[in-house]
C-alpha cells in the first residue's frame, strides 16, 4: 500500500500503519517521508484542526501580533527618548506620537512596543519553568508510581498550600529580581503543582489503557512509549496550560510592578502603569495622564484576551468529549474531567 501511494494523505497513512507491520513499514519509508508524515501527524493536523475554530484563529492572530511587536516591532520602532515631544501630550493628536507622551515627553506607543520583549521574556520563563517542572513531576509520578509518586505528590501538595501571591511578594522582596527571566520564574513558582497533578492523572489513565499495555508487551521501552503514545495525547493539554501560565505570569508581574514590589531597570507595561500612577497621578486625575495608564492596561487585556481565546479554542478542538459530541456516530463517552476553572 505504501509503495503505491507514497504521497498519501493523513488518513491513508494511518490506514497503512495499522494495516501492515509497522517496523517493516518504517524500514521501507525514506527518512524524509517519515519526517513529513511525523510533521503531518503531530503538527499539521492539529494545526488544521485548531484553525477550524474561530477562537483559535482570533486568539492565534492576537498572539502572533504581540510576538511580532516584541521581535520585529522593536527593530522598526525607535526606542522612546526623553523630551522627544511635549509633556503629557494627548493621544491621537500628533501622529508622530500616536498615543501621546508621558511626563518626560517620551512617546507612549514607542514605550509600549519596547516593553513587549520584557513581557515576552517573563512569560516565556514562566512557561518554561512551570510547564517544565509540571511535565517532569507529573509524568514521572504517574509513570513510576509507588514511593516516587507519593514523594512527588506530597511536594506538589506542599506547594499548592503555599499561598501564591503572598509568597511571590515575599520572594520578590527578598531577591529584588531585575532580570525578566528570573522575575518570570519566581512568579510561575506556584503554577506547576496543579498542572503536574493533572498530568499525573492523565498518565495514570493512559497507563492502563490497552494500547499502552500492548506497546509494552511488544517490548517497546518506556521512553519510546512515552514519546510515541503519551506525548501526543497530553500535548494539547500542556499547550493549554502553557497559555494559562503565560496569562498568569503577565497578570501577576504587571500587578507586582504596579504596586511597586518589583524593582525595575527596564520598561514594561507594569512599570509604565506604576509610573503613570505614582508620577503622573493618573488614577486620581486621569485628565492629564490617563492615557499613560490606559494604553498599558489595554495592552495587557489584549494579550490575555488573545491567549485565553487561543487556549479556549484549543480546549474545544482537542477535547475528545466535545469532538465526540459534535461528530455523528460516536456516543458520548464519560471520561473527561472538569473543563478547567
Amino acid at each position: 500500500m505504501s509503495e503505491k501511494t507514497p504521497k498519501s494523505d493523513g488518513g491513508v497513512t494511518q490506514e497503512s500503519i495499522f494495516g501492515t507491520d509497522e517496523e517493516a513499514e518504517r524500514r521501507r519509508t525514506p527518512p524524509a517521508e517519515r519526517a513529513r508524515r511525523a510533521f503531518d501527524f503531530y503538527v499539521a493536523t492539529p494545526f488544521r484542526v485548531a484553525w477550524s475554530d474561530w477562537r483559535t484563529r482570533i486568539g492565534g492572530a492576537g498572539v502572533l501580533f504581540y510576538l511580532l511587536m516584541g521581535t520585529v516591532g522593536v527593530v522598526l520602532v525607535p526606542p522612546p527618548q526623553i523630551n522627544e515631544g511635549p509633556y503629557y501630550l494627548k493621544p491621537f493628536v500628533d501622529w508622530s506620537m500616536p498615543l501621546g507622551t508621558d511626563n518626560l515627553g517620551q512617546g507612549i506607543f514607542k514605550a509600549l512596543v519596547h516593553s513587549t520583549p520584557a513581557m515576552m521574556k517573563m512569560a516565556l520563563a514562566g512557561i518554561v519553568f512551570s510547564v517544565g517542572v509540571a511535565v517532569l513531576v507529573g509524568m514521572i509520578a504517574g509513570y513510576k508510581g509507588g514511593v516516587i509518586d507519593t514523594i512527588l505528590m506530597t511536594m506538589a501538595d506542599v506547594f499548592i498550600t503555599l499561598p501564591g501571591l503572598p509568597l511571590i511578594i515575599v520572594l520578590a522582596a527578598i531577591f529584588s529580581p531585575k532580570e525578566p527571566f528570573i522575575v518570570g520564574t519566581i512568579i510561575a513558582i506556584d503554577q506547576w503543582p496543579g498542572l503536574a497533578r493533572m498530568l499525573r492523572s492523565q498518565v495514570l489513565a493512559l497507563r492502563d489503557e490497552d494500547f499502552v499495555e500492548a506497546a509494552r508487551s511488544i517490548g517497546l521501552s518506556t521512553p519510546t512509549i512515552v514519546g510515541q503514545e503519551l506525548v501526543p495525547k497530553v500535548a494539547p493539554f500542556v499547550l493549554i496550560s502553557a497559555a494559562g501560565a503565560a496569562v498568569a505570569v503577565i497578570f501577576q508581574s504587571v500587578a507586582l510592578y504596579f504596586i511597586g514590589v518589583l524593582p525595575f531597570s527596564s520598561l514594561n507595561w507594569g512599570v509604565m502603569m506604576q509610573l503613570a500612577y505614582r508620577q503622573g497621578n493618573a488614577v486620581a486625575a486621569p485628565g492629564r495622564a490617563g492615557h499613560w495608564l490606559l494604553f498599558p492596561l489595554l495592552a495587557i487585556s489584549g494579550v490575555s484576551f488573545s491567549l485565553i481565546l487561543f487556549s479556549q479554542g484549543l480546549d474545544r478542538v482537542f477535547n475528545p468529549r466535545l469532538l465526540a459530541r459534535h461528530s455523528e456516530t460516536v456516543p458520548e463517552d464519560e471520561q473527561e474531567d472538569a473543563g478547567g476553572l
Binding site: V158, I160, L162, R197, M273, S304, L309, G339, L341
Partner: protein
C-alpha cells in the same frame, strides 16, 4: 474517622513544611533580614555623621528581628513556631512598632470581609451563568455570554479596580477613594459607620467579584452540558418535573461536584489576589500590611502575614476534602479521591 485524623495531620504537616521553606529561604538569602536591617541602620547613622559601632548595630538588628544569626535554622524555626503556638507571639513589627499579632488580628476581619463577599458573589455568578449557558447551549445567548465571560476573564481584576477607582471614586465621587471606613465616623453599630464600611468596601468587593467570576463560568458550562446529556436528566424531564427543580436539584447540584474542590482552592486564590486589591484601594487589611512589611523589610510582620495566608489555604483545602462527602454521597471517605 481515621481518615479525618490522617487528613488533619497531613494538613498540619504541609503547613509546617510550607512555613519552614519560607522561613529558611528568608534566612538563607545573602543579606537576610538581619543583614538588611543592619545596612539600613548603618546607612542612616552614617548619613547623620554618627560613629558606627557594627557590633552594637548587629545586636540591635538581632533584637528587632528576633533572629539569632548563630543559631541553626531548624532550631530557630522551632523556637519561632513554639512562640507562635504557645504564646501567640509573632514578635514585634519593626515598621509599626507594635506586636505583630495585634496588628494582624485587627486587620484580619477586614480582609476576610472583602474576600468572602467577593467570593460568594463571584461563585454564585459563575455557577448561575455557567448553568444558564449550558441550558441554552448552541444558541445566540450561549455564544454571546461565552464572549462576555472570556472578555471578563481577560481583563485583570486590578485593571478593573484601577478603572473603577479612577472613574467611580475620583471622577464621579460615588465611592470613597480609599480606606476601610470614614475617618470621622464613630466605630460601632451606628448608621454612619456601617454605611461607610459598605461604601468603602463596595469597589474592593467588586474587584474581588471579578476574581471569583473569572473563567469559572466556562468550565461550569462544560460540566453542565455533560450533566444535561445524562440519562437521569432526561428521565427527570419525562417525569414531568418543573424546570426549576431540574435546574436546581438536578443540573446545578450535579455539575458543581467536580468543580467543588476548585472553588475551595479559589478561596485561597481570592485571599491572595486580595493583597493587590487592598493595596490599590489603600484598604488596611492583612494584604496591605504584608506589602508594606515586604517593601520595608519588616521581617516579623511578613512572616506572620504569611502564616495567615498559608493557614487560610491549608484550611480551605482541608475543609474541601472534609465536606466533599456531604455534597457527593458517592464519595465515601475520600481516601482514593483526587483532591486537586
Amino acid at each position: 474517622m481515621n481518615y479525618y485524623i490522617r487528613r488533619f495531620a497531613q494538613a498540619i504537616v504541609t503547613f509546617v513544611v510550607g512555613m519552614f521553606i519560607t522561613f529558611a529561604l528568608y534566612r538563607l538569602v545573602p543579606g537576610g533580614p538581619v543583614e538588611q536591617i543592619m545596612q539600613d541602620r548603618i546607612q542612616r547613622m552614617q548619613d547623620r555623621g554618627q560613629q558606627v559601632d557594627t557590633r552594637q548595630v548587629a545586636e540591635m538588628a538581632e533584637q528587632l528581628t528576633g533572629i539569632n544569626p548563630d543559631q541553626p535554622i531548624p532550631i530557630s524555626f522551632y523556637e519561632w513556631l513554639r512562640d507562635i503556638v504557645l504564646y501567640q507571639d509573632f514578635g514585634e513589627s519593626i515598621l509599626f512598632q507594635d506586636p505583630v499579632f495585634d496588628i494582624l488580628f485587627r486587620a484580619m476581619p477586614w480582609s476576610i470581609f472583602l474576600s468572602v463577599y467577593g467570593l460568594l458573589l463571584g461563585f454564585t455568578a459563575t455557577i448561575a451563568v455557567g448553568v444558564f449557558m449550558a441550558w441554552h447551549e448552541g444558541t445566540k445567548i450561549d455564544s454571546g455570554l461565552t464572549v462576555f465571560v472570556l472578555v471578563m476573564r481577560s481583563i485583570p481584576y486590578y485593571v478593573a479596580a484601577i478603572v473603577m477607582l479612577s472613574v467611580l471614586a475620583f471622577q464621579w465621587g460615588i465611592f470613597p477613594t480609599g480606606g476601610r471606613a470614614p475617618p470621622a465616623a464613630q466605630p460601632g453599630f451606628n448608621l454612619e459607620f456601617m454605611t461607610g464600611i459598605a461604601r468603602h468596601a463596595a469597589l474592593p468587593i467588586a474587584s474581588n467579584f471579578i476574581v471569583g467570576f473569572a473563567g469559572g463560568a466556562i468550565g461550569m458550562r462544560a460540566l453542565s452540558v455533560r450533566v444535561i446529556g445524562a440519562d437521569y436528566l432526561r428521565s427527570a424531564r419525562l417525569r414531568g418535573l418543573s424546570t426549576n427543580r431540574i435546574l436546581s436539584r438536578y443540573l446545578t447540584r450535579n455539575s458543581i461536584l467536580p468543580i467543588y474542590t476548585g472553588f475551595m482552592l479559589g478561596i485561597a486564590g481570592m485571599f491572595s489576589s486580595n493583597v493587590i486589591t487592598e493595596v490599590i484601594f489603600q484598604y488596611h487589611g492583612v494584604g496591605w500590611f504584608l506589602l508594606e512589611a515586604a517593601v520595608n523589610q519588616d521581617y516579623p510582620l511578613v512572616m506572620a502575614a504569611f502564616v495567615f495566608f498559608s493557614g487560610i489555604t491549608v484550611t480551605a483545602i482541608m475543609v474541601a476534602d472534609f465536606t466533599y462527602g456531604l455534597i457527593d454521597p458517592r464519595a465515601g471517605t475520600g481516601a482514593t479521591r483526587e483532591s486537586f
